[in-house]
Symmetry: C2
Subunit: 217 residues, 2 copies
């Protein structure tokens, strides 16, 4: 049972995205160093990652783009469509719905929830809004395993508890709070405030690196 690293998963998802953007009629094959250039990773790392999904390229032509997409998809995607719920139809929720809409055939945001009566039953970004009262019921009915939390920090833990009780196993958490969850639930945190702080910190680092080199040339 050799588990694959989360970082590799992220990269594989990126490779697939890039490959999907290539017209196979114009370019049926691709070399690891070409993908490296496009993704910013190293060629060796790409070869390693590809190894992990069990696909092999040709030493002469490189990787067949279609075959590689298929291998990655076999590895990453579920055999059938996975249903996803989005909780919190504010600006962020709408943005996610909009970005995501129709992008991944094997993933479908089938329900959105909000406790704002004025939103309930409206269809927003192609998704009908259900009242949060119905959260557990709807999640069970629709067999939803993944939940996206685009709600304020104050309500995040409560909602997390509720979706988990209804059977959700993966949470994408945009609330700037550490969720307390059982070990059989995966949580991916996307803290926007932290992201800005991080970018600002490393921007500063880059600036000081620059002045360092200027001094030493």
């Amino acid at each position: 049972m050799n588990s694959i690293s989360p970082k590799t998963i992220e990269r594989l998802i990126l490779y697939r995205r890039i490959l999907l953007g290539i017209n196979p009629d114009e370019k049926s094959h691709i070399y690891s160093h070409e993908l490296a250039k496009m993704t910013g990773f190293t060629a060796a790392q790409i070869r390693r990652d590809i190894m992990a999904v069990g696909y092999s390229g040709s030493p002469v032509h490189g990787y067949n783009t279609q075959a590689m997409i298929n291998s990655i998809s076999d590895f990453i995607d579920a055999p059938e469509v996975q249903n996803v719920a989005l909780i919190g139809v504010g600006h962020l929720g709408r943005a996610v719905l909009n970005y995501f809409k129709g992008r991944r055939p094997k993933l479908s945001i089938v329900a959105s929830f909000d406790n704002d009566e004025s939103k309930v039953n409206r269809v927003i970004q192609g998704c009908r809004v259900i009242h949060t009262n119905e959260l557990e019921k709807s999640i069970k009915e629709m067999n939803i395993q993944v939940a996206i939390l685009t709600i304020p920090a104050e309500s995040a833990q409560e909602i997390a508890d509720r979706v988990i009780s209804a059977g959700v196993k993966g949470i994408l958490n945009y609330a700037p709070i550490k969720l307390h969850t059982p070990p059989d639930v995966y949580v991916e945190n996307r803290d926007m405030i932290m992201a800005v702080e991080k970018a600002a910190y490393f921007a500063r680092q880059k600036m000081s690196e620059e002045s360092f080199y200027e001094l030493h040339t």
Copy 2:
């Protein structure tokens, strides 16, 4: 020049957030294992990270929350306020503005940009919208070093090039595309589609782990 790892930076930002949420009158000190419980990291790792910022606790009382906040802040924050720009005042942009507003005293989103005439000059989430035509000019005038890109993938590279030409050193990129940037610019990618795919993948993993254990007990 001992550089600190990005992972440690992320954790430090989280520690500070948690510490800021503690009332110092009720709890003036905290032990590494308490922070561990709250953050989900291990106590050893927390002690390590704290070491990196040069703060020391007491073997008896643990860490003084205020002193620790100050040490982390001295380490993470710039001495003066860093100015940040947000480009793309759609749903996502508004969400970021709203989440971020007033959260970090040393970071200020001082300008937002959009090329939709109907938004220009309106004040959205407390920030006046400037036309994208004025991007370079405004960034230089306001001495902005960090840019948040909440725009569609199609325009992301062009905008990135432009903000970099105007002096930006850190980019927080929400567009689902790999930006091509010079080495003296830091890019933090926050790809929402990928985040959903990742959460879905690991949700599935958790489910199969579970059935694995069920079979073997």
